[in-house]
Symmetry: C4
Subunit: 122 residues, 4 copies
């Protein structure tokens, strides 16, 4: 059993601008989820904002023994994730998974990257 | 209950120069705080330096079920955070929160980014 | 005994393009393994994908009291790691080791970097 | 008591080239150490390499309630840290500290950054 049921990512921000070919170099915010179990993971993602109530859950699924790199840009469900606005996220999975947060920022001609393993919660 | 009461960030440095539109592309050092509780979080932030006594506490608040991405650049309270000087920080919250450290460095024409989940302390 | 037997990295992606001198500035995805033990570490690495079965194990060895920074680009054994495709990885070592994930992305003229300590598993 | 006695950083690499003003934009590899104790921290740092024996200890000190951001570039002691060569490091402190790893890579005109909290060891 690899991973945890709850993961948190306090940082979240989708830059409004992008430079370069779509979708590869589009500015994006991603949560990479690894499910090593022999059963599908069903994940409820909730978004937190600066000055309004949380939005969610967004329901995500990762098949058994698969990884999915979800772009926040592409989430639908309760509502699209706003660009240019601070947010944070919490993921709750029915089976243990591992989550990593990555951003590609291509507002300028040369892209910048950041990543971190998310915070495993209780 | 998601998170911890104490978080540490040994790295801290606000570049003195910036390139690009203000405030979006201003070089900045940020701590993102996520409060999933149903009550406000009151956080005392203390800054540590290379060769002088710690400064603080800076008092930060994050409402219930909200995230706040605090730029060290914008902190007031005991004193402004100096630019171009190494520092570190410790956050102590009255309720469990999750903290992530991010920097945007725009000293040059193309920005660079870094991030990490802070270190959850005792 | 420093480290863990199992490590996970949900993010994985080798950019298809590179700019600059080979191999130093070739876009690459790396797992850095530190073995502080007085015996060699034998590591089985398994890759997970979005829509096909896991591939592995790739067998890696790190001599006693050495570090090895393995580029996914250079792995052979069951099959080469595809470029431009999302993946994730799990490492299982017979002795405790510490793992860190790094990418250099040189698709554009100026390189971007990301890193994180991998997630220590059960 | 904030932190741990042992910290590991599997990734280590000082780029051979730099662009921009010295020392601010010199390519560097840094370990940031935060000592919140009321006594000085004495730290023994050991470097691990790909194909030769570990080198160390390098002795570092961080005064009580201070942070020090040590550039590997500037370490003396047993021997200078080689540029352009993979290494890893372990820090052992007599009092609990927190360690974070940062690199600034200025091989190209626009700098790149990476960071992560180091791995807290036993």
């Amino acid at each position: 059993m690899i991973g945890n049921h709850t993961w948190s990512i306090p940082e979240g921000y989708i830059p409004e601008e992008s430079t370069g070919p779509v979708p590869e170099m589009t500015s994006h915010e991603t949560v990479c989820v690894l499910n090593t179990n022999d059963q599908e993971a069903t994940i409820e993602l909730t978004l937190y904002f600066t000055d309004r109530d949380p939005v969610g859950p967004y329901e995500l699924t990762v098949p058994a023994e698969r990884t999915r790199h979800f772009r926040f840009n592409d989430l639908d469900g309760p509502e699209a994730v706003p660009k240019g606005e601070d947010f944070a996220s919490v993921l709750e999975s029915d089976v243990p998974v591992v989550c990593q947060h990555t951003r590609l920022d291509s507002r300028q001609a040369e892209n910048a990257l950041l990543t971190t393993i998310a915070h495993p919660g209780e």
